[in-house]
């Protein structure tokens, strides 16, 4: 019984850690996509899911977009579509690009440090 519990913890702990790690970099991922071009919420989550295999509920993206907007890293505007419902498009701001640059540098530094550490394995 205890052995089963231990193997379950060993199985779920890395998965949980990876999931937390991915969620932690979601801000960075959103800024990367918006730097490429403007996106609306559904399109953004679809692109993120395709590229990252991120297992989060789609609704999670809206509070994040809301926070990035409040921090003035992105802006939004409603666009009327020829067919269908209007869409709320998000664009990156100059401050957003600067923040993304800082995140990029931080990520590269972390990557270098981790690569060195992983050589010890």
């Amino acid at each position: 019984m205890k052995k089963d519990q231990n193997s379950s913890i060993l199985h779920t702990a890395p998965a949980k850690w990876v999931s937390q790690l991915r969620k932690g970099v979601l801000d960075f991922i959103i800024l990367i996509y918006l730097n490429k071009r403007d996106h609306y919420g559904y399109e953004l989550i679809k692109d993120i899911k395709l590229a990252t295999d991120l297992s989060i509920s789609e609704g999670t993206i809206y509070p994040l977009l809301n926070r990035l907007k409040k921090e003035e890293l992105i802006t939004s505007r409603w666009v009327e579509m020829d067919a269908g419902v209007p869409r709320k498009y998000y664009s990156i701001t100059t401050a957003g690009r600067q923040a993304m640059g800082g995140m990029h540098k931080g990520w590269m530094d972390m990557n270098r440090t981790m690569s060195k550490l992983l050589e010890l394995l």
């Binding site: 789609e58 609704g59 999670t60 809206y62 509070p63 409040k70 269908g84 419902v85 709320k88």
Partner: protein, 197 residues
């Protein structure tokens, strides 16, 4: 914004989901609520149209499951917004609403709010004791005795707890400290909730 459904069950699922969204967001400003509602409706409509399920209600249900429970993703956002508002104008209403939302929006937010609620209770008790001191100066205050631990608050038999050392100054001092505590706790709460997001 609302798609036309051929099956009444699909309409029921759609209405049920957006009634939950409206209920959660009922205390947020009208323009923010409407904007979020339109954005989520657009999202769900597009998600339904791309669903591969055979039956229409299954398409709606699958799209709803992918979008997630509105309680899970909206409550933390509303708590943050309320705290932003509260730390700008220190509105007691926003603080109380933030408590209502944060107690049911995840364990970390629950723990943070629980700890800070003790601070708020202390601040309010101090403020109320300060006001009580105006009406019952003999029984409300800070009492110090050489043999007892200092007592702060409203005391029935003050002679047992020593003498009130602040006298007239107790009311203004306690009210000022209570206000500073309230302001500091609100700002701290906003900072902690942001870190927890």
């Amino acid at each position: 914004m609302i798609p036309t459904f051929s099956d009444p069950l699909s309409q029921k699922l759609w209405d049920g989901y957006f009634n939950r969204v409206k209920r959660i967001m009922r205390r947020t400003p009208y323009n923010i609520r409407e904007e979020m509602l339109h954005e989520l409706q657009g999202h769900l409509a597009e998600s339904i149209s791309e669903s591969r399920a055979q039956r229409e209600p299954d398409c709606v249900q699958e799209a709803i499951e992918r979008l997630g429970d509105p309680e899970d993703y909206l409550k933390p956002m509303i708590t943050e917004r309320l705290l932003d508002h509260a730390s700008g104008n220190y509105s007691l209403r926003s603080v109380i609403l933030a408590f209502i939302y944060s107690f049911s929006s995840g364990l970390s937010r629950f723990i943070i709010s629980l700890i800070l609620s003790l601070g708020y209770i202390t601040a309010f008790t101090l403020g109320l004791t300060g006001i009580a001191n105006i009406f019952i100066p003999d029984k409300a205050g800070l009492f110090i005795s050489p043999n007892e631990f200092p007592s702060l608050g409203i005391i029935n038999n003050p002679s047992l707890y020593g003498t009130d050392i602040l006298g007239f100054w107790f009311t203004p001092l306690s009210i000022i400290i209570a206000i500073l505590m309230y302001m500091g706790l609100t700002r701290l709460w906003r900072r902690l909730i942001r870190k927890a997001s």
